[in-house]
Symmetry: C2
Subunit: 500 residues, 2 copies
């Protein structure tokens, strides 16, 4: 057998090629959602499918499997390399369960679904999305069978986004949390409604754009290694740590829409820009998991970006961008307004408490779709009923209801729970950062978020992927995920805001 070093180099080279193809597909995806001309969709879908299929073929190659098995048996592999090899071997073994034909079918169908979702949103009609979505859901059921699972078929899909997560574990997390949230919401409902009308004035597009660009720069998003553009649905995407892109959307009658999406996506982007470039193509160069990714975006969006310290410094800056709109709103009114708790229709605009009911409804819905106990055509009915029951709002139409999110059109079933997990990890990380950086709040008070970023860089970003979310959480905070940090964070915050 060749020397370990040579085998490892050959493995790393093959993985870089695969990353190149995957990242090329990501560039095409980014372009599709930002600059693609209307009629370009058909062949773009085909081009993405071809790249996706090729990446799959490369990652299923027997030659790679052979390398991985040989390396796995080598006793002299340095620990960091061993971690890469064993994580890749697990991914490889899983990937081998997919046939090329299935991968292409899935990719073709998600492309189709994406465009019918766009149409459905344009015409405000779930019906335009339903048929393509039903086909996609059938494929996701097929995928669950193909991957195999114990217990609920949805477990197979959950594991795609959060290794080790199951219906049992997510059910347990939600059932431990939701009653506490409901109790808090009940107390808040007894208090006077906070006025946030100042957020709903006319905020011109170009001023919002300038403000958003100012903000992402202030948050240390490196614009020599990334960019921001406009898209239908804000997202972040990375082609390597030196090319990380975020998008936003601007609603001229709703200031919050763009601002917190900028902060949120910047949180994702800072993680990607902080990944070790030398790990390109290998687990060491990847984010740990979707939930840890979301922990970064929500930490910046909520713990920093909806915090009183942050706005102590930035509110005067904001006022100078919008003197006509915000000149007469006090910092206190602003802080209370941006943290108003209010049942609402759109997940991405939800407050930090109600947000998790939005996620929970999608989670329950997906479970039933995948189990086959709910049909695709029944989604709007189920959706509207659950929103009434759990959030207390009446859904007026599909655009404000079940076609608000892009995820299903991407085939991302099993993804939503990572949004809530991300919030829980964020609270635990931020509490830990507060203990380990004594001057944290003073720094943020003075518009300096670099100490926090450095702490995240050292503890989380630079680590790449070396294990599960739970493993990383233990390394960073000394213990596994504990939702009580999140509950405590909410109690502290809203007791002050609502004088509970």
């Amino acid at each position: 057998m060749p020397p370990t070093g040579d085998l490892y180099a050959a493995y790393a080279e093959q993985m870089q090629r695969i990353a190149d193809v995957r990242n090329a597909a990501a560039v095409l995806q980014w372009d599709q959602e930002t600059y693609l001309p209307a009629r370009g969709a058909h062949y773009r879908g085909q081009q993405i499918s071809t790249l996706t299929e090729m990446a799959h073929q490369l990652f299923s190659a027997e030659s790679l499997g052979g390398l991985l098995k040989d390396l796995d048996e080598k006793g002299d592999l340095p620990p960091a390399q061993r971690t890469n090899v064993s994580l890749t071997l697990a991914d490889y073994t899983k990937n081998k369960k997919y046939t090329s034909r299935f991968v292409r079918k899935l990719s073709d169908q998600t492309n189709k679904c994406f465009h019918s979702w766009i149409e459905a949103r344009k015409h405000n009609s779930f019906a335009l999305f339903s048929t393509d979505l039903a086909t996609l859901i059938d494929l996701k059921k097929e995928e669950a069978d193909l991957l195999g699972y114990e217990g609920h078929p949805y477990n197979a899909l959950l594991d795609e986004f959060e290794k080790g997560a199951t219906v049992a574990s997510i059910d347990k997390t939600f059932s431990g949390l939701l009653p506490a949230l409901q109790e808090l919401l009940a107390k808040i409902r007894k208090q006077p409604i906070i006025d946030d009308g100042f957020l709903k004035q006319h905020f011109p597009k170009s001023n919002q754009w300038d403000w958003g660009m100012y903000l992402v720069k202030e948050l240390n998003f490196d614009l020599t290694a990334g960019r921001q553009d406009i898209s239908e649905h804000p997202f972040s995407i990375s082609f390597n740590p030196s090319d990380v892109r975020i998008t936003t959307r601007i609603d001229t009658s709703d200031f919050g829409n763009m601002t917190w999406s900028c902060i949120h996506e910047t949180g994702h982007a800072l993680y990607e820009q902080g990944l070790p470039a030398e790990g390109y193509g290998l687990p060491a160069g990847e984010a740990c998991s979707y939930s840890i990714h979301e922990s970064q975006s929500r930490l910046w969006e909520n713990h920093v970006g909806r915090g009183s310290s942050f706005w102590r410094f930035y509110y005067p800056q904001l006022q100078s961008h919008f003197p006509g709109q915000l000149g007469s709103t006090s910092p206190e009114e602003f802080y209370r307004g941006i943290n108003r708790v209010q049942p609402s229709l759109i997940r991405t605009e939800a407050d930090e408490i109600n947000y998790h009911f939005h996620v929970y409804i999608r989670y329950e819905l997906e479970k039933q779709l995948i189990a086959g106990s709910l049909k695709t055509g029944e989604i709007p009915g189920y959706w509207n009923e659950q929103y009434q029951k759990l959030i207390g709002v009446t859904v007026p139409d599909d655009r404000n209801g079940c076609i608000q999110d892009v995820h299903w059109s991407h085939g991302s079933f099993g993804y939503f729970p990572t949004y809530s997990l991300g919030s829980f990890y964020a609270a635990q990380f931020y509490a830990c950062a507060g203990e380990q950086i004594p001057q944290l709040e003073q720094d943020i008070n003075s518009g300096n978020t670099r100490s926090l970023l450095q702490w995240l860089r050292d503890g989380i970003h630079a680590k790449g992927r070396a294990g599960t979310s739970e493993d990383l959480c233990r390394t960073v905070t000394g213990k596994g995920l504990d939702v009580s940090y999140f509950v405590q964070y909410l109690l502290d915050k809203y007791q002050t805001i609502y004088n509970l």
Copy 2:
């Protein structure tokens, strides 16, 4: 052997996959020259190289070769399919001469060269480009050997861009033409210099952009199947007939820079948008050749876009876009100004006569570089000497000299002659269009270029690639390339403008 229809379908499917990968690489290239953040260059280069190598591997696959040979022997292939197969077989045979390793090396080196060209331009110094270029030239010599040639090694590279072209044929074309151009230039030099100072006023960026977008739309560039952006060097690129992109650059102190680059690139784009979509991935869906491509851009740029008929309609429109700058310039002054003949440094800004000396200098230079009789380090010296001798201008620096064009950084040696050939084909096509569309000049007089576009669509665009440039020229005009059309066009035009 399977039935012909099945074999052909399998061949077409494989070709579409290859097109997907090539077009994906093209998207990455487009992004690289428009929106890529500064630090993203390194991995982008690697990603493009990987896709280029994969496309090469797919197009060298034995399975494809087998299909092509089987199809080639079938007697029952419909004529259009037979043409596709035989052209693909010729390409395949040629492509097999390249090793994957060589393709990757070449792609890596051109990526490297592109970035050092950008640096060289930024610092106005050929020296920053020289080392990488020298390596690239060595690779191009290796490529010539690999492909094989008779006579001059440059013949192998010429054939890449214009099938059948040789040093002998291009030498002959130039030597038949240049004396006539010199004679015409000598006459023009005796006439008073035309004032075109109105073109060099301050034309604000955003007004130019609006004017350019107006113009490309008026010329029937379909913006639902394409877009225009800004880049360092204007170019057009296509990912399929429904996604064709052009770029331009804006010089606020030179009106002509953007306007005629918009028209030129639109000419390329109209060709791509007019290719048969159902031929995607096959010769039937490709442009005939580089020179025919260039004939389309130059036909629109010069025969239409510098013609008196066109501006009869559009000059008032232009004046309304720039009343301050052009309000007091008469249509006649404008027409004479935009057609002023004047030796100049930059090829893309050259008048229609001097232009071909720019091309000729590069052609002679490339011949000698590939033959090894000129060293890379000697380029600036040779360049400056030839510009003095043939065009009569003193080159002040490299940016206005030998690093003005992007082509060498792309490894496009053998490409420049297609620019001149394009002009010659354009003149012949336009003369033919004038004979076959009786109301052509009246149409253009009234701002209607659709009859011309339809003529080009039917005779050229819809034909895809079915043979050589010469073949197409015969089909369209009834005879092979004849440069006397071009000479006659120049004589007619400049006799009027300069009262010769």
